[in-house]
Symmetry: C2
Subunit: 189 residues, 2 copies
């Protein structure tokens, strides 16, 4: 951020009075510009035990497989965002959505809110951000071609969840810890 979005003058980074963090503050009109984490909402959707995945038609990770997920928009709920992304990326109608996991990714200031639910029907197809969609048996999940660590983690947790036969209302929480080598570890909190 270089300029004030309210008055167009230059901003500087200072700690405002009563605050304890550097913020972009307008040298002209004094507006404090806060920057906060973004939510990504997505869904693990099944059709007769098969899991819906989409192959990305956009960067980053073009060509790799992912769960339908994307940035939450103003004016919607977390569940509406997950359903909307399912429709946009896979033309998928989601039903019986329940919150499944909340992932903190502090190194990129994102929070993933991942739902699980069912496909209302088998008619899924690539939206504009996908090259193709697929319904995968668990044994056929393309682990080495998944787009993001949080997608791996979501699917691993989901499979463990199925094996444990836990109550469907369980919600998992985890935090991504980015290592020096760029890999991501997870802690369960």
């Amino acid at each position: 951020m270089k300029f004030c979005s309210q008055c167009g003058q230059a901003v500087r980074q200072i700690i405002p009075q009563g605050d304890n963090r550097l913020r972009f503050v307008c040298a002209g009109c004094g507006t404090i510009h806060y920057s906060n984490p973004n939510n990504v909402c997505g869904a693990i959707l099944t059709w007769q035990d098969k899991i819906l995945l989409c192959r990305r038609a956009i960067e980053p990770r073009y060509g790799l497989w992912t769960l339908p997920a994307g940035f939450m928009e103003n004016g919607e709920t977390v569940m509406e965002a997950a359903a909307r992304e399912s429709m946009e990326e896979a033309n998928a109608v989601a039903k019986k959505l329940d919150l499944f996991a909340v992932f903190s990714l502090p190194h990129i200031s994102q929070v993933y809110l991942m739902f699980h639910g069912e496909l209302a029907n088998e008619q899924v197809s690539a939206g504009t951000e996908s090259l193709e969609t697929g319904l995968f048996n668990i044994a056929d999940i393309p682990w080495s071609e998944l787009a993001f660590p949080v997608i791996n983690r979501s699917l691993q947790l989901y499979i463990e969840h199925l094996q444990k036969d836990t109550k469907r209302s369980a919600v998992y929480t985890a935090t991504a810890i980015k290592q020096a080598d760029g890999k991501v570890d997870w802690v369960n909190r």
Copy 2:
């Protein structure tokens, strides 16, 4: 938003190519400025069955009681945000935090992530944003003097949760629906 934070030129609201929503886009450099919901993280903290509340020393709702909660910051996890707000608003050391509820407030584009846990000790006191702190028995909660509908809802759910003796790992989801008269209803999703 009136000016581009990257180059200082005027922005206009258009639907960018490949998008389906109005965004602020710079007429000069073309930067698309997204606006997304903010997370508020907070905690229901108990000391021997008593619940920690803080009386607000800031607007809005100056003088009313609230749970420690505030905007999540970049670079932290949802749980760290809840613990930090507990410290900032009540000098409270939180322990055994678990996610308790996720509330969508689409009318103000906020998501509340409310934890529950214990106070590490009884030494709580007002931070700079609080007039005072209090440890309340459930029978003494000042329902008519709570700051926000989401605080009422959090405490109601927490009391129901205690009565049901549900597993501690249960996580509730709810959406605030703002009515024409300004009141807020809740749906469980």
